[in-house]
């Protein structure tokens, strides 16, 4: 194979990747506007599945649960993860390798292991104390837990990228510890906080496995609803939900990008 063919091959491979990534999404989006109840034939443009979807109380409550779960868990994870990220930075010269690995572990752990252990844990506590009944509360705790490492790592890497003497300059310029946080640290890591929030948000909306194991009967999120609906067969309604989710996640990604870019210019 000569060099030119090799380059052509690479290019083809690139487009193949893009096709496999985005063609299924495009198909789902297209068929969500299908007039007919078919996943094979597109008969005409229609919004009937969207109208049907918003008439379905179960779906509305699933969307509500998903948003509440994503927003509340991201905010809590942001606060805790930010503190952990700063702590990791402050004590980076100590021998804390094992602690860092503890933070990393949930990222590499399979979701199913994480989900099952959380479920067993919550059930045990519920049987012993009556607290932590499976539901939105337990889901929030579980989501916060797996979002924290992402936030901590983003915040930590932002702090590591800063000139260490900035912290000393803030002290030197009469900033009390509280003012150092308000006027130096938070504004400086704001881009990292925005990225971390939207990453947590997306991870939470996206999560099925952990949600599934920690949810209660009243707290189905969109992924859980889709999973149970799909057992009855793929309907264009599901396509409409998927399209809404794609749109929502894309919106979050664009917003995070714009918020960070506005600061940079």
């Amino acid at each position: 194979m000569n060099k030119r063919n090799f380059k052509r091959g690479l290019k083809g491979f690139w487009w193949l990747t893009i096709v496999f990534l985005y063609l299924p999404l495009a198909v789902v989006m297209l068929f969500s506007f299908n007039a007919a109840n078919s996943a094979a034939h597109f008969t005409g443009f229609s919004l009937r599945w969207y109208i049907k979807l918003f008439g379905n109380q179960e779906i509305i409550s699933a969307i509500g649960n998903t948003l509440v779960l994503a927003i509340v868990s991201s905010v809590i994870a942001l606060v805790i993860g930010c503190l952990i990220g700063y702590g990791m930075y402050r004590h980076r010269h100590r021998k804390l390798g094992w602690l860092i690995i503890l933070i990393y572990l949930p990222i590499v752990l399979p979701d199913i292991v994480f989900g099952i252990s959380e479920m067993a844990f919550f059930v045990q506590i519920h049987q012993l104390t009556g607290f932590l009944k499976p539901g939105l509360g337990t889901m929030i705790i579980a989501h916060v837990t797996f979002e924290i490492p992402f936030v901590a790592l983003i915040v930590y890497s932002r702090f590591v990228g800063l000139d260490p003497s900035l912290f000393e300059a803030a002290k030197d310029l009469y900033a009390t510890p509280f003012k150092r946080v308000m006027h130096f640290m938070l504004p400086t890591i704001k881009p990292a906080l925005i990225s971390a929030f939207f990453l947590s948000f997306t991870l939470s909306v996206d999560d099925f496995v952990i949600s599934f194991f920690t949810s209660g009967p009243e707290s189905a999120t969109l992924p859980i609803y889709i999973w149970s609906a799909i057992k009855k067969g793929i309907s264009p309604e599901i396509n409409a939900i998927a399209t809404l989710m794609i749109g929502g996640v894309a919106l979050a990604a664009v917003m995070s990008l714009l918020l960070n870019r506005r600061r940079a210019t």
Binding site: E168, A169, K171, D172, L173, Y174, A175, F184, K190
Partner: protein, 404 residues
């Protein structure tokens, strides 16, 4: 102990009050000056009481084995441009950080402007630092960087803006004031870091190798600017550098440090021409140090030959001078005569190397088994060549004896 801490804290309050007082005075002067000459207002606003510094028995160690400061006693006078000079790891930066309050001494006391500040945190000290990396806040504009210290001290915005405008005029920042930090060159950042520290009108300004990251031309330009600022404000400057040329150009006095100990304190001329020991001599760039094997009054027998030194030098209070086992011949003090000439302090030698530098030339001369460096001004006369036999002539008053 408790008593000391309380006194330190009331000291801080006093200094804060006086700071606020002088601030409002500066404001009054400034608003009057809006009608009158602008120049006069700057002079008024920036004039303030300089502070002296006393260090007594300062100790600092890092970990078990690293001694950064080994019981340092040092007095810095009010309004002085004082330089801490030494190789890396000599303790100069630690000393500066202790002055700033960024590091706490393990032992000893530190007094600034008559107040014990040993345990006062940095945000309560009227001391500001120009950091080696400039440490400008990346999320703020130049203007906001300049106003940061004033804002943290709670100065009202109108007054803050006026102070920032004054300092920007004084340091000639011009149109840089609304730029972002990442749009600045190294030299511009350096001047903004200086302005950001000066605008707070500290009792003492600390400079941590502020020019080391700049190229030679910009560096000497900023050296001149720093000197001008210091002379006009009359502020006490403590400057850290490892560059002996820079130290000599800038300083009223220099402290040479090594291994956490002060080796010598003195005016640039003292330190360069009368180094207290071999370390200071070598650090100031002197290589012509020769072992004394015997001595009789002012007559020395050395490894380079027979030398006569002036007796008065021995009486100069420098104890080492009388017992010193080394003699220093500064390369620029000697004369080269062609051929063999007999006389006191005349040393016969042969040139083994010549570096022509335009305004002057540097020679390596073999005298017996030792080597002597000589610097000779190029006055347009004949310059000796490599291989020439020459006689090195040194004046007795230029010779310094010192110990290892």
């Amino acid at each position: 102990m408790t008593e000391m801490t309380t006194s330190a804290h009331s000291g801080v309050e006093n200094s804060l009050h006086s700071g606020a007082g002088s601030g409002s005075l500066g404001n009054e002067a400034g608003s009057k000056a809006l009608d009158a000459a602008h120049e006069a207002s700057r002079e008024n606003a920036s004039r303030r009481q300089a502070s002296s510094i006393q260090m007594r028995g300062l100790h600092k160690r890092f970990g078990k084995d690293t001694v950064a400061l080994n019981g340092v006693d040092l007095d810095i006078e009010a309004g002085e441009f004082f330089t801490l000079l030494g190789p890396s790891g000599c303790g100069k930066t630690t000393m500066l950080r202790i002055l700033a309050g960024l590091e706490e001494a393990d032992d000893g006391r530190l007094t600034i402007g008559g107040k014990d500040v040993t345990e006062v945190p940095p945000h309560h000290r009227s001391v500001n630092t120009v950091f080696q990396s400039y440490a400008l806040f990346p999320h703020l504009s130049v203007r906001e960087n300049l106003a940061f210290g004033l804002k943290m001290r709670g100065m009202p915005q109108a007054q803050r803006e006026q102070k920032v405008a004054e300092i920007a005029g004084f340091i000639h920042l011009g149109d840089l004031i609304d730029r972002r930090i990442d749009q600045l060159s190294g030299g511009q950042k350096q001047r903004i870091a200086l302005a950001r520290a000066l605008v707070c009108e500290p009792d003492v300004l600390l400079l941590d190798e502020p020019l080391s990251a700049l190229d030679a031309g910009l560096r000497s330009q900023l050296q001149v600017e720093l000197l001008r600022v210091q002379k006009r404000l009359g502020m006490t400057f403590v400057f850290v550098t490892h560059d002996q040329d820079e130290a000599m150009v800038m300083s009223d006095r220099i402290a040479v440090l090594n291994g956490g100990n002060i080796q010598q304190v003195g005016a640039p001329r003292d330190v360069y021409e009368r180094p207290a020991n071999a370390f200071v001599a070598r650090f100031m760039g002197h290589d012509n140090l020769y072992r004394i094997t015997a001595r009789q009054g002012g007559r020395l027998t050395t490894e380079i030959g027979e030398l006569e030194v002036e007796e008065q030098e021995i009486e100069e209070g420098n104890q080492h001078a009388t017992q010193g086992e080394l003699v220093l011949i500064r390369p620029e003090t000697l004369d080269l005569k062609p051929g063999r000439v007999e006389g006191v302090n005349h040393l016969p030698g042969r040139i083994t190397e010549r570096l022509y530098r335009g305004s002057h030339a540097e020679f390596r001369i073999e005298i017996g088994s030792v080597v002597l460096q000589a610097t000779v001004n190029n006055r347009g006369r004949h310059l000796p060549e490599v291989g020439d036999e020459v006689t090195v002539v040194v004046a007795a008053e230029d010779l310094v004896t010192l110990s290892e």
